[in-house]
Amino acid sequence: MLKLQDLTKAYRTDEVETVALNNVNIEIDHGEFVAIMGPSGCGKSTLLNIVGMLDTPTSGHYYFKNEDVAGYSEAQLGVIRKQHIGFIFQSFNLIDELSVAENIELALLYHDIPASERKERVATVMDKVGIAHRAKHMPSQLSGGQQQRVAVARAVVGNQSMILADEPTGNLDTAHGQEVMGMLQKLNEEGTTIVMVTHSPSHADYARRTINLLDGHVVTESMRA
């Protein structure tokens, strides 16, 4: 599905240069469930942002479906991104002023989908994550677990083939964390590629492969049977 080759990302601020990713080579196949682990500041989010085309690498290649997107402009990346990639964040990142249903619908708003079909798909996906009874509520009226379920619904409502989750359980208690992991697992079983950053080894166990990062390097990759 995607392949990172000699990928490097450096941030330049005034005098200091931070190398967030250094010569990273990773290949992820379609339908995989990959966990990324590593200490804080090792470059996990940076990696996820580049994979999610929210950011561009400083050098190296990024093949997405055999197409090198490393040099693409923001607008070009945007087109690919909105078609293929869904996001889940640690802090949910729902829009406070929009209701649950509207937040989910947002992921369809910028595609050419008629309003009636949008409503239908939103309803379906809300059922799927069990949040339908909260459709009209505002995010601030929901618990963290419920908010993250909304975020999951939003990530998949557009039939994205890959979901990138940056510490999706970081703000949740154990029970809610399990719940979200269950949903991700189910999605993966249905064929969605999932790349997830996590600090929790038990959550990493849901993935079939774990990539460990340290100071911008891939240090180990381990596969489960």
Binding site: R81, S91, I95
Partner: protein, 824 residues
């Protein structure tokens, strides 16, 4: 101690939030400056003639004629003889005096000067407490050959300062005599409709040949001022006027009571500047409408500026929520916080005040030029107190709401991350205020365009005569010039570049109401109509380029001269030629221009009660011609040939105006050295009639641009705050696939909504008010056009709003979403 603490923290806040402070201070400073300028103007306008010791008890009488079939004619002056009977009938009147102004030649040795002199009754100086420098004003007026000068004139004629006892010869139509300077007074302040510089006593006998001046009951040539006993109710005096009129005015042949068509009313002197009717003032009148309009504009600007202040402060409130909450946690009481924020706001306003005073001082010279005044701020007086008071009020009002919003944040709510600190109520209020700002700005914008449109219309309306390349020479009424009329006209006709020359009693933009009673043979004399009269010379219509609808113009070879009264009296009259305008045709029921030709009209002549009529033959019909302001409806008018007298010579020329003026001057100075050469270009005289409106328009345009600018400053500030507040949302939307264009659209639409709603409010309001304003013009643009202007204003406001928020929106839309989503 606490105070310095507040000031210090206020100052730090200004420095720390530069954009916020700059927008706030600039907006407020411009607003305050505009309000100060308007206040100076309004204060000046409403403080006329209130400095006289007895101003409460001084009145001026005005006279209204109610001719049948025509709108009433109101004059600020009254008939001369009234003064001789008024004190007899009204015991509450203490003193009464007339004032008539005359352009006179002052002769000192072999030098000639031109001056306005006031002919007054001696009681004039008992009514008004003029400030005397030397001499005794009362005594001076009791002597018929004494002259009172003001400081400026005394210095002008006697620079050595020895004016008292010196003599000057004055020539004022009816007399040429020597006068002795008997008293000198201070110059009159500018805020008075009583405007005298040189005064002499009225000697009625001198005017016996010009009986209309002081002796006719139906000519109005003098202002009449009087003082009453304290406690007199002017309503009682006004109410008794009809019976006073019937007792004292000459009886009518028809037997009709004079009070049926003449009214006398009096106004307190303090009201004259803004509310006096009529046109014959000795100082330019003000307009109550203008005063009200600009007071409203000032109020609007102040509100717009205060709204900015409030909106920016509450918008920033959410940013400061953390600071406030922390202070609260540290134990600051709510009162202390409120005090702190109001203090900051007042401090900011006072800072803005300093800036605004600089603006005012910079703007005053051109402002004075536009409105034709000499306004200034007197920092030594209560002015300063007023200004500081005004800004402190704005500061407190602008600060109070944000202060309470800010201080009401509950620390627990705010410190819990991820919660928007603002209530939806305060967001809504802010939106409402922005709508108000834009509604006000759009209304001002529409008003400006309507005023401008009307001016443009007035300039381009078909006046019926050609105003360009027409030179009008004044002062022909003076004897020395009058006797040279024929010679001057002939000489002018010889000059190069001059195609035709004529003379007349009126000139464009100069209006003396001269009316006469006319009837058709079928009408009884009691039903005759009041028709306006313009005395004109040969070639008048050619010189003015006036079309002929039927018949012919006056011609030297045609024996068009009129029968003199004396001839009619002796039974030697003949049918006198007459040219009439279209409105005249309609008024007298004369049919089409062709049908009117050859018809006979009768016009009453001679003395009151003599019952003489002159027979007139219509030889030509001309269209209605706007020789006067478009505020005046066209009268039914006749153009009567007046072969040997005139007030003005008009010259149609081609080529360089200056050359023609110089040639004319040379000729004049050679032939009439005792009278100064003065002239006007007709086109200037026409424009001058709209000077007040021009000034209003410039003021309007300037102040409404300021209002819009201030509103935009506020919008810009809000846009940047909103963008900041929405960065997270925008980041999420972009992650969800929104393009830069989608985001810009979203933000721009957010700011378009209030502008669109503002249009819905502004349009009906401005349509209504501007339709009313237009009604003061007899000839005006269709109110239909206002709708077009509304549309234009709406589009302009939208474009301006877009331009204001676009840069910000584009910047925000282009930021990488991860920046917005990273830090939580």
């Amino acid at each position: 101690m606490l105070l310095t603490n507040y000031i210090l923290s206020a100052w730090r806040n200004i420095i720390r939030h530069k954009l916020f402070s700059a927008i706030n201070i600039l907006g407020l400073a411009i607003g305050l400056a505009a309000v100060m300028l308007i206040t100076l103007f309004v204060r000046h306008e409403i403080n006329y003639d209130n400095f006289w010791a007895n101003s409460q008890n001084i009145y001026r009488m005005h006279m209204t004629f109610l001719p049948s079939g025509r709108p009433p004619m109101v004059f600020s002056m009254v008939a001369g003889p009234i003064i001789h009977v008024i004190k007899k009938d009204f015991p509450q009147i203490q003193h009464a005096a007339r004032v008539a102004r005359k352009r006179a030649t002052i002769i000192k040795g072999d030098q000639y000067f031109e001056e306005q002199i006031s002919l007054v009754d001696p009681a004039f100086v008992k009514i008004f407490d003029f400030k005397t420098i030397t001499g005794n004003l009362g005594k001076a007026l009791d002597d018929q050959s004494s002259l009172i000068l003001n400081k400026t004139l005394a210095d002008k004629y006697f620079p050595q300062g020895n004016a008292i006892g010196q003599t000057l010869t004055i020539n004022a139509d009816a007399f040429e005599r020597e006068f002795t300077v008997a008293a000198i007074m201070e110059n009159m302040p500018e805020n008075s409709q009583v405007n005298v510089a040189a005064m002499v006593s009225i000697v009625e006998e001198e005017w016996s040949e010009l009986e209309w001046m002081f002796a006719s009951w139906f000519s109005v040539n003098t202002h009449l001022y009087y003082s009453v006993n304290p406690g007199t109710n002017i309503k009682d005096v006004n109410a008794q006027m009809p019976s006073f009129i019937d007792r004292n005015f000459p009886l009518q042949d028809s037997g009709d009571a004079v009070s049926g068509f003449v009214e006398l009313n009096s106004q307190n002197i303090e009201e004259l500047h803004l509310k006096a009717p009529g046109n014959s003032e000795h100082r330019e009148k003000g307009s109550i409408t203008t005063v009200l309009i600009f007071s409203a504009v000032a109020a609007l600007i102040l509100i717009i500026a205060s709204i900015n202040f409030m909106n920016l402060s509450t918008a920033r409130a959410s940013q400061r929520a953390k600071e406030v909450s922390l202070r609260k946690v540290m134990g600051a009481s709510r009162q202390k916080l409120v005090a702190q924020f109001i203090g900051e706001s007042v401090f900011l306003t006072l800072f803005a005040l300093l800036v605004s005073m600089a603006f005012v001082e910079l703007a005053l010279p051109s402002y004075n030029q536009i409105i034709g005044k000499q306004l200034s701020i007197d920092y030594g007086s209560s002015d300063l107190l007023m200004i500081v008071g005004l800004s402190a009020t704005v500061g407190i009002l602008g600060g109070i709401y944000p202060a309470f919003i800010l201080s009401s944040f509950r620390p627990a709510d705010v410190l819990k991350a991820n919660k928007s600190a603002e209530t939806s109520a305060s967001v809504k209020l802010r939106a409402a205020l922005v709508i108000f700002q834009f509604a006000a700005s759009i209304s001002l914008f529409v008003s400006t365009t309507v005023v401008y449109g009307q001016m443009l219309y007035a300039k381009n309306i078909k006046l019926g005569f050609e105003q360009n390349n027409l030179l009008v020479i004044n002062n022909l009424y003076r004897d020395a010039a009058d006797i040279k009329l024929a010679l001057l006209v002939n000489e002018f006709r010889q000059m190069p570049n001059i195609s035709s020359v004529t003379w007349s009693n009126d000139a464009p933009g100069i209006h003396t109401e001269n009316n006469t009673s006319m009837r058709t043979p079928e009408m009884p004399s009691s039903e005759s109509s009041l028709i306006g009269v313009r005395g004109v010379g040969y070639e008048y219509f050619k010189t003015y380029n006036i079309d002929l609808l039927s018949g012919r113009f006056y011609g030297i070879s045609q024996n068009d001269t009129r029968a003199e009264t004396i001839e009619i009296r002796e039974g030697r009259g003949h049918a006198s030629s007459l040219i009439i305008n279209e409105t005249g045709l309609r008024r007298l029921g004369l049919g089409t221009p062709e049908e009117a030709l050859g018809k006979i009209l009768y016009r009453s002549v001679g003395n009151e009660g003599e019952n003489l009529e002159r027979e007139h033959l219509i030889i030509g019909v001309v269209p209605d011609i706007h020789l006067n302001s478009l505020k005046k409806e066209i009268r039914p008018e006749i153009f009567e040939l007046q072969p040997d007298h005139a007030q003005y010579i008009s010259i149609r020329y081609s080529g360089d105006p200056l050359e023609t003026v110089n040639l004319a001057r040379e000729l004049w100075e050679r032939e009439v050295p005792s009278i100064p050469f003065t002239y006007d270009h007709a086109v200037d005289s026409v424009d001058k009639q709209y000077k007040a409106e021009q000034g209003e328009m410039t003021m309007f345009a300037a102040f409404s641009s300021l209002a819009i600018f201030i509103a935009c400053l506020g919008l810009y500030g809000l846009a940047s705050f909103t963008a900041e507040r929405r960065t997270k949302e925008i980041g999420i939307r972009k992650v969800m696939g929104a393009s830069v264009f989608d985001v810009v659209k979203l933000l721009v639409w957010q700011f378009s909504k209030p502008v669109l709603i503002a249009n819905l409010i502004a349009w009906p309001v401005s349509y209504y008010t501007m339709t009313m304003w237009l009604e003061s013009f007899a000839y005006r643009i269709e109110s239909f056009f206002i709708l077009g202007f509304c549309l234009a204003a709406g589009v302009a406001a939208l474009l301006i709003a877009w331009a204001t928020v676009a840069s910000n929106s584009i910047r925000v839309a282009n930021t990488n979403p991860i920046n917005a989503l990273r830090y939580e």
